[in-house]
Symmetry: C2
Subunit: 161 residues, 2 copies
């Protein structure tokens, strides 16, 4: 069964190359970018400006294929793919929570963008802590490693083959 999606816009960022990118929004806290939404969907952005943070779902368009075991940027051991945020996945959907600075028609000005310039946008949702945050008791192999995400940069391991 195939499910077909079509981008509703594009994400603009200063990152032109999959290599040497921040690997999570934590590494791009002050990085600003834009979401350009297709004119056909602009009306759907109404009321979004009330939210300080939004969820972007997008397509990892530069990452093709996948392996079920990967060595993540933040670790030295192979891990099950679904326990990682590696961009090469069976369905290459990326998820980032960014700060919404301003809406200007069909342009959203955002901060904390860790996404490649030109990334196809699939969906925007309001970020609501009551729905989207959880009190975790464990974060697996990322324990003591998530901190690294602030400074670590990507390399070429998840480039399209």
């Amino acid at each position: 069964m195939n499910i077909t999606f079509s981008p509703i816009g594009t994400i603009r960022s200063p990152f032109q190359d999959v290599r040497n990118m921040p690997i999570q929004p934590t590494g791009a806290k002050d990085t600003e970018g834009q979401v350009l939404v297709e004119a056909d969907y602009a009306e759907g952005l109404d009321d979004l400006e009330g939210f300080s943070h939004i969820i972007l779902l997008y397509h990892f368009h530069q990452s093709e294929g996948f392996h079920l075991k990967v060595t993540p940027f933040m670790d030295n051991e192979p891990r099950g793919l679904f326990s990682t945020r590696a961009p090469r996945r069976p369905n290459g959907i990326g998820l980032s929570i960014v700060q919404l600075l301003k809406r200007d028609g069909r342009i959203l000005h955002i901060r904390g963008v860790d996404v490649l310039d030109g990334t196809p946008l699939l969906d925007i949702k309001p970020y609501v802590p009551k729905f989207d945050s959880a009190e975790v008791s464990s974060i697996g192999w990322l324990e003591k490693k998530a901190q690294k995400s602030e400074t670590l940069r990507s390399d070429d391991r998840f480039l399209a083959k």
Copy 2:
């Protein structure tokens, strides 16, 4: 430009009907379900058990079409679609954070599932507060309304036409 995805599994829950469902995980805190992952992808679940919470991305397979203005379950006024979590969207991708109770081969036992039984699964990611939570300063029209999500149930407004 079309992007084609293919489900990697199925979400099982007690909810058989789009009507009278919890509208967010907050309304289904104690509801247990399972994620059945296709055998081909089972190895990718390794290391996931270390995480107490996971992110499920799935297809709103019972919701077709969309309107750019919708009246959400939690409100009485029409709102821009992207400022809502309505399931009828240009790209019908749903997002839920659930508690991971146990992995049993290619079956994940989960709690806090607000998803329709039989929902096609697109991706699983580990939930990491450092990446996936934000300190918000505003939640727009949901201010004073998000609380309702604990008790409010869906009706037929987002049924496939």
